[in-house]
């Protein structure tokens, strides 16, 4: 039973991989997001297009950081904070605890 289950599980993973590869190749020629420009964001483009059809559009965020260098500042700050938290906790979990 264990062996059969393992075969089924690996079969599912392989099937997913095949769907992803075949689907990616088959659908790459008919990509509505790409028509908006190279490296356009899929959610941005598709939600914008869907909203436009019913007369809606995205509006500025409540705290608009898209001014001058503000977004750069917050991206850097977010990167430093998240990277530090990951590094600090990784050390606590996998170095200090491991050593104990």
């Amino acid at each position: 039973m264990n062996h059969a289950g393992k075969v089924i599980a690996i079969g599912i993973a392989v099937l997913i991989l095949v769907i992803a590869v075949v689907g990616s190749v088959a659908l790459s020629t008919n990509n509505t997001v790409r028509e908006e420009g190279l490296w356009s964001d899929a959610t941005d483009v598709l939600s914008g297009q869907a909203a436009e059809q019913v007369g809606r559009e995205a509006r500025d965020p409540f705290i608009n950081t898209e001014q001058g260098n503000m977004l750069v500042f917050f991206f850097c700050l977010g990167g430093v904070a998240a990277g530090s938290i990951i590094g600090y906790n990784w050390r606590r979990l996998f170095t200090e605890e491991h050593r104990r």
Binding site: I16, S24, N31, R34, D41, A42, V72, Y88
Partner: protein
């Protein structure tokens, strides 16, 4: 003495590399509004998704309180998973085969590490910070984004991992499948939310299908990336601290490296 210095150096190199990686990943790009942007959803749909998300977040907060009350040693794991979800879900990945970009979710990985309800709360916090300060998502669409990325990504990823482990799948295979399906589920739910709110007089199912198909060229390959990343991290965690994953992988027949207070419940 030399050994101590080497350990100190290694630990600090890991810390510095993590900070540097964060800086590289956050290198400024034009403001892509990943997640559903502010103002896209009509207010009543925004309220419906808020209400649905609130149920999961409330349960998640209760679970966090209970589990941290039992074991304070879990806090580093929650911190690690939360920061990882924040970082991964704001990372725009260019997909060469389609010429477009999108972001992975990180919530399937977090769900495997800490459980799906806690992962939902971590995802909600990450989305709130992104909406407030990074112009990604929005406050009115926070509920919808929680439901798609935090709830769907966590529960589908966690469910897939659990089912495949029950079938005795190798950890890497189970982690890979969880990452892929969690990522795809996120975008299936995003498509549904958009279709439900913005279909006008058209058919819900037809618009849902159209949107899901339009996401596919970007998300199918990106799902593979998320699957590989999820599998690699889960395998690494299991190799070094198997007791952290004992809620999804029984420890039977596996040596426990440490039983210190950091262990999972």
């Amino acid at each position: 003495m030399l050994y101590k210095s080497a350990c100190w150096l290694r630990n600090h190199i890991i810390l510095v590399l993590s900070v540097a990686l964060g800086l590289i990943l956050f290198y400024p790009t034009p403001a892509y509004a990943m997640h559903i942007a502010e103002g896209i959803l009509p207010w009543h749909w925004a309220a419906i998704w808020y209400a649905a998300a609130a149920v999961f977040v409330t349960i998640g907060v209760i679970v966090i309180r209970r589990r941290t009350g039992e074991n304070k040693g879990l806090l580093p794991l929650f911190g690690l998973a939360g920061a990882a979800v924040f970082l991964i879900s704001v990372f725009p990945v260019p997909v060469p085969i389609s010429g477009t970009s999108s972001h992975p979710c990180g919530t399937p990985l977090a769900a495997i590490l800490v459980g799906p309800f806690i992962s939902t709360v971590l995802g909600a916090i990450a989305l709130l910070i992104q909406a407030l300060f990074l112009a990604h998502g929005g406050l009115t669409t926070w509920g919808a984004n929680i439901l798609s990325m935090a709830v769907a990504g966590s529960f589908v990823g966690f469910g897939a991992f659990l089912v495949l482990r029950r079938l005795n799948a190798p950890i890497f295979v189970a982690g890979f499948t969880a990452g892929v399906l969690g990522d795809w589920a996120t975008y299936a739910v995003t498509s549904f939310e958009l279709a439900a709110a913005l279909r006008g007089a058209g058919s819900l199912w037809s618009m849902w299908g159209t949107l899901a198909l339009a996401f596919a060229p970007t998300q199918l390959p990106l799902g593979i990336l998320e699957g590989i990343f999820t599998a690699a991290v889960v395998a690494l965690v299991y190799q070094r601290r198997p007791e952290l994953l004992k809620h999804v992988i029984p420890l039977t027949g596996r040596p426990v490296v440490s039983t210190a207070k950091g262990g999972n419940q």
